[in-house]
Symmetry: D2
Subunit: 301 residues, 4 copies
């Protein structure tokens, strides 16, 4: 099969990835800190840069970096969603060739140190591994301008030592797995939630609440499969936070295998496990409100 | 804004990720080796697993793993694209609830060792960092079944020490970058090319040829921006390999900054650079034939 | 210069690295979890394996793995120091050619989930990035047997937004750094402390106490350099925990550079920083009691 | 056991780690490139910085960085051993409190691109994963000054599909491993070789020759265990390169397990393997000339 049609540039985008910005608030002796990794992505009328090397409509990625750092002062990072909205609007409003801007933010958590039980004013330890994420898209001019915010958490490692089974599954000639009525269930969750609106949200409260909601469902919902657990987690978030349009969950099944100690005359009743690296199950689920507004480009990488 | 509509499962998929399979061919004393990382993804009628924990239609990810290893023997891995097609077809044809299967393969290259200039029969060293990739999707039953193959290369690190400029760009109040008429250009390329057909392709020859084509254009094309370089690379691949429908390229601009040695009375004429880690420019381009067949689900993660 | 003497095997050791063991305690409905990465290293009379390929004195690394998992049941992992002592003694006492055994353990922390404010009985989230470490060495037979325990913490990321300066340093022809009277100080600490005894220690309390002591000194000690901060941290640990013989600290100076926003008419009073990746300062300090007992092979990798 | 002796600073050192320097040679249209990661470590009379925060004898790590970049111009990086010797001598000779300097260099390899079979003048692809290493120590003043060079290779991934066994090993109650007369042997080698002299060595030729020697022995030596293979590799290097004093080898046994396909009616005669991640055997061996000169501080981290 040979194609002979003209060769064209189709989708394109560019930006500055992974600006590592730390913002300190020093309004009083008790400092606050926000620590982020910011990536900018611009779409628009940039075809000439690709097809003939004409940069006249190209805002350098270096400029995007400077702007990202400047907005850490102008808008600040409390919270990251407002920062990202302001930065995205800046690019769309102030740079003529830009049709839409996407700002991706990862926020790293810091825990204030206590000294003799008293919170210290300017010292923290890094708390992880989970990371707060925000992905903001702004498109269009003037009254037609629209914005989308996706919140999220990444690398949220969850484990339950019981309350999980896997049985009664489809069997074929390559199936050797034994059903189990009691297994360890562990994952490193990536969850993203799309807000139905960008107005009137208390972003920090939303993050804390949704994250806790997901964790509580993981803990309390008896699991017949990771699929079911994910669906229930997304469903609960949508029920509890009616300003959410949809929740997307991606979850590796981090396998913990019961270690065979019977060979050594030892009884292992769900006590000793091997935590395996690879391969791992990988489950994706999207849970949505049927009346969710159109996502537009919110999910377009 | 409060949503009140019913909560539904929308997109979902699942599989076994990162099966690390090594295949040795021992047909003669001169062995051959193929070393891959295989991920399987199934889509189909799996809603009950999510919504009510019913596994009766769920082929375990453990079974998918067993099947992936079995097909390394049944079909073999020469080349990976035929392996992935066979494995995907197995899941679609043999597992009733499966509507489509996606097989992602990374292949790690090994270089045969020479001993006193003679190629050794069964010893290799790993050669990288670039990795060959294949993403195969099969959907539908019987005569309506369709298949798509995307080839690719990841982590192909390229550098040219001259023949690159960046100037005459858009300037705003946050622009401090100086134009340059001679800079180092380096990237770690991820390129993927969609084949217009899955029949009659010499997959190994295609990989070798397209990879070399991309490298040669990077080397010889004077670069007015990384955008232009990427477009020319994709364009050349489409021109040279008419069975390609489109090429997608993602390329970080791995910045190498001229180091300021003038402070120490030293002249630095493009000789000493600091290779910076973050942030980095990140450019995406898709170059396509206007008469390319519909991609269908080929790019759907 | 040509050497002509006989070629000999000098130092050698071997073991099984990175056994990923998870131990659950199910004595009541309220489960407990310990999650570790265990490496075993044996030294002894293994020369024939190297020089002539004779395995008759070699305990396979697979056997070492099995033993490490078995001892997670036999001894348990509460705490890791007792586990490592028992495992090391097993190899020295039970395997004739083994002269000494070294067990290295990393322990990953899990935080019990709260549901509606109530601690959940069997669900946790991973808490990091800091990792607890233990390195145990046992050498010799019978009454001459000796043991050493080194506790530690790795990847403890600390940051203070003020209370740090760097000035009045040595200047030469390559010095361009400006002194600063107020800077951000951040590190990812690796600290190891050698116990003067292996008897009568409450290992969990020691870990919690020493870690907190190091953190508090980092917070409260005004820093004229990271060197000084490390020395004071080690000194405080030795003063507070008289069963410690010495403390070794390795600390990257994770540079946070004030971002130049003055170019954009913005004032940056220690508010916006760039967190740089590489290079980084790297400071090592050992602080010890003058009357510390001989470390023997405790620090020998 | 309580210690009461005075608390003292014992070992200490500091430097700037991971300076990512790229050097281009433009003496003709055919450019050359050397790409390195340089770390500096200084030892000397720096106690006051630790104990009382006095920086007056401390050469800032920023200055060490500037000097490392400057010497990429002054001395150049052809080869890295001469660069490291010059940089180390600079610190020892020019900075009064410095007693000894250690320079660690990793060099990343680049392969010149060919275009239509013709080597391109200024474009390369990165070639790995193996990395060339050099560790240089200079200590002392004037005529008493001494220098040590350790060359090496890291992350050299080797695999042989036959010619390896493991049998007749020690068996105890935890031994379940079956002996094998034909297995795959793979490792990711870290080798370091200490030169008996720093004068008159062709460093690039030494690196190429020693690396090839190690590879050839791995290929051709029948292996009764990885221990034996390592010893033979080190021995061959010492025999072939009489200016070497000792060779240190560290090698994970990257396990490739025969996959059990018999369950599916398939015969697997050493054809399909699972490449496991963790745990892995880890073997260390040092092979030396009996008349090797004293290593002094050459191996002191």
């Amino acid at each position: 099969m040979e194609l002979t049609g003209p060769i064209v540039l189709s989708d394109n985008r560019y930006g500055k990835a992974e600006n590592r910005i730390v913002r300190v608030y020093r309004d009083s002796a008790r400092h606050e800190i926000r620590d982020v990794n910011v990536s900018t992505v611009l779409r628009g009328d940039f075809a000439a840069a690709y097809t003939v090397g004409d940069q006249s409509e190209v805002l350098p990625t270096d400029t995007q970096k400077q702007t990202a750092y400047a907005y850490a002062k102008i808008t600040g990072l409390q919270p990251i969603e407002e920062y990202a909205l302001a930065l995205a609007r800046h690019f769309v409003d102030r740079t003529e060739p830009v049709d839409s801007a996407r700002i991706e933010v990862e926020e790293y958590a810091w825990q204030r140190v206590s000294v003799d039980g008293v919170p210290h004013e300017h010292t923290w330890t890094r708390r992880g591994p989970d990371v707060r994420t925000a992905t903001v898209t702004v498109a269009g001019e003037g009254a037609a301008q629209r914005a989308w915010v996706i919140g999220g958490v990444a690398d949220l490692v969850l484990l339950k030592s019981t309350g999980s089974e896997f049985a009664d599954f489809l069997v074929d000639e390559f199936t050797v797995l034994e059903p189990t009525s009691d297994r360890m269930l562990a994952t490193s969750l990536v969850a993203q939630w799309r807000f139905a609106t960008v107005d009137g949200i208390d972003w920090d409260a939303a993050y804390t609440g949704i994250r806790q909601c997901l964790i509580e469902v993981f803990a309390t919902q008896y699991s017949k499969a990771l699929q079911q657990t994910l669906f229930e987690m997304g469903k609960a978030a949508l029920e509890s936070f009616p300003y959410l349009a949809e929740v997307r969950l991606a979850a590796p099944n981090k396998h913990h295998f019961d270690y065979d100690l019977g060979r050594f005359g030892l009884v292992n009743r769900g006590e000793v496990y091997h935590a395996d690296d690879r391969p791992y199950g990988l489950i994706h689920a999207t849970v949505a409100r049927a009346d969710a507004p159109d996502p537009g480009p919110a999910w377009t990488a």
